[in-house]
């Protein structure tokens, strides 16, 4: 909110610090001053009043009270003199009926007769302009002026335009309409609180006045309304009709109901001074339940405990007094605090501690490390495995990305993610079409990363470890997923990366099962059906490895092949194992023999490996496929597989003869297959 430096100064006899300095003080002790701006002979202070302080500080008086406490200054009261005309009584001119009592705690009106509508005096116009308001005429300007000074929104009606001189505060009957002062038309539905006369709406309560009882050049008799409307009702109405005003903004933050008379008096006195006229005697005041100051018992030991500093009692009293709290001693170490009714934000002892410590100065609070039991923090294994996983992939040359948690409609369609059983979650109020859904998979955004990066990088190796979101069994489910990719024809490379990763996480028994999507799935499958495998650990499937289908890649205009893995990280970490056991290193030498087998092109390596293992038994320590060859020198439809076989016994040195025997046994076993031929 914009404040006028000169206006604030007018409440103090003592000269205030220059604007920049004053702004720093306000920032440090109360609210952040966002900007200081020279404006004519004045300065605008743009103060970011905290929302809980709206009730008292959306007003110059509020800031003045703060400064009185911060700078320990005395406030100069400057109420203009109010002279009432004893001949005319306000209640004889206007009747107020509040039919919606829960929505209107108080409704106060003053009546002024024989006013002369004209431009307001310079100082009022200047102050309004400094605060960003446009001067209109003396009556309207004074209502705004009083609002800026006290925080109480006012509204001025032309008395003679009010049918039957009756003001009714009620909910709209529905189907009612109003044309506001700025010539806008609003339909008022049933929940909206309005000010009406006996015939039709005069104003949208607490939000905006209507054209019907507008103050005009010829207006002579004025009704000043100072009311207190329920904050929730005003907030809802303001949202519903999508209209925010200086008044609605103040009402929705709440206001002190005791403020209405003070504000109405100030307005009446100013009108009398600058628009002439006679102020009718008294108010018309609907205020069935007077709000009294709250009392809070403040335990000084608690104050010290919460701040961690002993502030002398005299100081505490002085601070609270300056902020207009009443302070009384109540036994040893206890104070009874009377909270002024404009401090709607204060109801707990903690609230008082805040007032004390901020005005005393946070900079005076020492830094003292807490006394706490010496216990190590709980080890969060989930996070430890996350870091370990990310590090392994990093060391293997993969870069970590963090993508948006959102997907667009187009993504959903391209990747076939809209099937109901996937339970995709849609955002009700997306900021753009790109952010319409929560991602049910990390694959989409990673592929989009490839698309973005392919013009700058020939080879892309990236991964993300992040959450995916779904709606399942009337619950939202979020799970961590580990998804990564490499560009190029790198299926076996990526398979090796997964083996490396899983082994490093202490997982063995990894195997890969050919992926056989159901016909229904295959229609939308993003995988190349021929190059896709389930990653299995024992009997559990933990994810997929595969090459992306040409259709998906073409759709995204990705030029290279892409191989991806997509792993359920929650399942994975359940299988990880930190335990390691030392395996005795055999003291007997190992021997390596090679074997090359010519097999039909469609023979799987695993079949060959199995035969070698079965025939070799325990003596084989390792088998290493080092070459796959298909080509010219070979017969049509055949390929050559070459293995290193490493032999080692735990209990003796193998003689060449023994090795020869096993090797022959393996060859024999391999050649049992009619189409296989061991090359000697």
């Amino acid at each position: 909110m914009k404040f006028s430096f000169n206006w604030i100064q007018s409440f103090f006899n003592k000269k205030l610090p220059e604007p920049k300095k004053l702004a720093d003080l306000i920032t440090l002790y109360a609210f952040e001053v966002e900007k200081i701006e020279k404006f004519d002979r004045d300065f605008i202070l743009d103060i970011n009043v905290l929302p809980n302080r709206g009730p008292d500080c959306f007003s110059h008086l509020g800031i003045v009270r703060e400064l009185a406490a911060i700078l320990n200054l005395k406030i100069v009261e400057q109420k203009p003199k109010l002279i009432e005309d004893k001949e005319n009584k306000a209640q004889d001119f206007i009747k107020i009926t509040v039919s919606e009592k829960s929505a209107c705690q108080r409704y106060t009106a003053r009546v002024i007769l024989d006013v002369k509508v004209q431009p307001s005096p310079d100082f009022i116009q200047e102050r309004l302009k400094t605060c960003g308001l446009r001067p209109i005429n003396n009556i309207v300007d004074i209502s705004n002026y009083v609002m800026l000074e006290t925080g109480q929104p006012l509204h001025a009606f032309d008395l003679e335009k009010i049918s039957d001189r009756k003001i009714i505060v009620r909910k709209s009957k529905g189907r009612e309409k109003i044309i506001t002062l700025d010539e806008e038309k609003y339909d008022l539905d049933k929940d909206i609180l309005i000010i009406a006369d006996s015939k039709s709406p005069l104003a949208i309560a607490g939000i905006k006045g209507g054209k019907k009882a507008e103050i005009e050049q010829k207006t002579k008799k004025v009704v000043i309304e100072a009311a207190n409307f329920n904050q929730k009702i005003i907030r809802q109405a303001s949202k519903k009709i999508d209209l925010k005003t200086d008044a609605s903004w103040r009402f929705e933050h709440g206001l002190d109901p005791n403020l209405t008379t003070e504000a109405a008096d100030l307005a009446a006195a100013l009108i009398q001074e600058f628009a002439g006229g006679k102020i009718c005697q008294g108010f018309v005041d609907f205020y069935p339940k007077k709000v009294l100051p709250k009392k809070i018992i403040l335990d000084l030991a608690f104050v010290e405990k919460l701040i961690g500093l002993n502030i002398p009692q005299v100081k505490i009293k002085n601070i609270l007094n300056k902020l207009q709290f009443g302070v009384k001693e109540r036994g040893v170490g206890k104070l009874e605090i009377k909270v002024p009714t404009f401090r709607l934000d204060v109801s707990f002892p903690e609230d008082l501690v805040e007032e004390i410590v901020r005005i005393y100065g946070y900079q005076k609070v020492p830094a003292r490390l807490p006394m706490a039991t010496l216990i190590p923090p709980e080890k969060n294994l989930d996070i430890i495995w996350e870091y370990r996983t990310k590090n392994i992939l990093k060391e293997a040359g993969f870069s970590e990305v963090l993508n948006y948690s959102f997907l667009s409609k187009e993504d959903i369609d391209n990747f076939g993610l809209s099937q109901p059983k996937l339970g995709i979650l849609e955002i009700e109020n997306p900021t753009s079409a790109d952010f319409q859904y929560l991602r049910p998979s990390l694959i989409t955004n990673l592929l989009k990363d490839v698309k973005k990066n392919q013009k700058n990088f020939k080879e892309i190796k990236i991964f993300e470890l992040g959450k995916i979101y779904k709606y399942q069994n009337s619950k939202t489910v979020e799970k961590r997923r580990l998804t990564g990719l490499a560009t190029g024809d790198h299926f076996y490379y990526l398979k090796g990366i997964i083996d490396l990763l899983l082994n490093s996480l202490g997982i063995s028994n990894i195997w890969y099962k050919e992926c056989k999507p159901t016909p229904e799935e295959s229609k939308i499958s993003i995988w190349n059906k021929k190059k896709c495998a389930e990653i299995k650990i024992d009997q559990e499937e933990i994810g997929f490895l595969g090459e992306l289908s040409a259709k998906i890649l073409d759709n995204l205009k990705i030029e290279q092949k892409v191989v991806m893995f997509d792993i359920d990280f929650e399942k994975l970490i359940k299988l990880t194992n930190e335990e390691q056991e030392y395996q005795i290193i055999s003291t007997f030498p190992a021997a390596t023999r090679d074997i090359a087998v010519l097999v039909p092109k469609f023979t799987k390596v695993e079949e060959v490996l199995n035969k070698i293992e079965i025939a070799g038994g325990e003596i084989i320590r390792d088998i290493d496929l080092f070459d796959i060859y298909e080509g010219e020198a070979l017969p049509e439809g055949k390929k050559n597989l070459a293995f290193h076989i490493i032999y080692q016994a735990k209990d003796k040195t193998l003689s060449s003869k023994e090795i020869e025997e096993i090797q022959n046994k393996i060859i024999e076993n391999l050649e049992k297959e009619p189409d296989w031929q061991v090359r000697k």
Binding site: R235, Y362, P370, E378, E400, L446, K448, T476
Partner: protein, 343 residues
């Protein structure tokens, strides 16, 4: 007589070994003394003539000498070989300015690195790291945190709502809901931090993002004070930035704390003179914090009596931007490897 001869022979042979200047000359020495027809063999052969007792003695002595000489020759031989290799190394031309072979390591995301750093610092002070859901209910995101419905305070957090599940779910706007979730299951005293993604319904620009990272902190005990908060955060900032960091607290408002304050750090870019980094203020706001509101403890099912504590929240993207001098918050979610591979 034999003895003198042997001693002389050894001396002579050693001298010749020393004098030999190359492998060829050394071979000559070997042949002269140690080869089948060399001096030593000759002596050994001549032993047959000696009486048995003496023969054994001289024989032993001769064999020892043979061994010593063989070792000396071998040593010298090795030296010649090493010299030869060194010489050839010296003669080779080698360019050390050729660029090193590129080893492609991957990179961890800067936010992940920042997160790890934050976790390490707080864990060293006894804080446990905990996690919570990103899709939240209004209760945990707002009501339990003392932010009632239809209250202007809610406007401080622009919220994404999920469709179809009528105002039942939202994307958490801060990591603070985990405070309540954790308190429901754990008794004070306690110390936790909660790093995680949060979401704000905002237009994005260089300093605003819809999907970013925060870390929440919570410490509750019998006598936890503002002074304690100051010390813990001072320690954190010092460790995080690797230097003494000037900070200040100023009043602020978050409904789930009371008193509430903001932590500003002195702008190191301009030394407090005002610059774009600190929006001309000389200070940069980095942490929202305060003393846990008794209503939050109540809402988590705890009796607030006797317990006090502090809570704080900070934007990890912001911290990363300050640490690495990154000027656009959108880079974090961009997936741009030109950015990511710098970390």
């Amino acid at each position: 007589m034999v003895k003198t001869n042997l001693n002389l022979l050894v001396k002579k042979a050693q001298k010749e070994i020393e004098k030999s200047r190359n492998l060829k000359e050394l071979d000559g020495v070997f042949n002269k003394y140690l080869a089948k027809k060399g001096e030593i063999s000759r002596i050994l052969n001549s032993l047959k003539k000696l009486p048995k007792k003496k023969r054994a003695k001289v024989g032993q002595k001769t064999n020892e000498i043979k061994k010593i000489l063989a070792e000396k020759i071998e040593q010298k031989k090795q030296k010649f070989k090493t010299d030869l290799k060194e010489k050839s190394d010296q003669e080779q031309w080698f360019d050390i300015t050729v660029p090193g072979k590129k080893i492609a390591l991957g990179h961890l995301h800067p936010l992940g690195q920042i997160r790890k750093k934050i976790e390490d610092i707080f864990q060293s002070m006894g804080f446990s790291v905990v996690d919570g859901p990103e899709v939240e209910t209004p209760w945990y995101n707002f009501d339990a945190l003392n932010i009632p419905a239809d209250h202007p305070a809610r406007d401080l957090w622009d919220t994404f709502w999920l469709k179809d599940v009528k105002k039942k779910f939202l994307l958490r706007t801060h990591t603070s809901p985990v405070q309540v979730r954790y308190l429901e299951k754990n008794q004070p005293p306690l110390r936790i931090i909660v790093p995680g993604r949060v979401f704000r319904h905002e237009a994005t620009d260089a300093s605003h993002e819809t999907d970013f990272w925060q870390v929440e902190g919570l410490m509750i005990g019998k006598d936890i004070s503002i002074a304690n908060f100051k010390a813990v955060i001072e320690k954190f900032l010092q460790e995080f930035f690797g230097r003494e960091t000037k900070m200040r607290l100023r009043p602020s408002y978050f409904p789930f704390v009371e008193p509430g304050f903001e932590v500003d750090i002195f702008c190191s870019a301009c030394q407090g003179n005002g610059c774009p980094v600190c929006k001309q203020m000389g200070w940069v706001e980095i942490i929202g914090a305060g003393m846990v509101h008794p209503n939050v403890l109540k809402n988590a099912g705890l009796n607030p009596k006797g317990w006090t504590g502090f809570a704080f929240g900070m934007g990890m993207n912001r911290l990363a931007m300050m640490k690495y001098k990154i000027d656009d918050i959108r880079l974090f979610n961009s997936g741009d490897l030109r950015f990511l591979q710098q970390f």
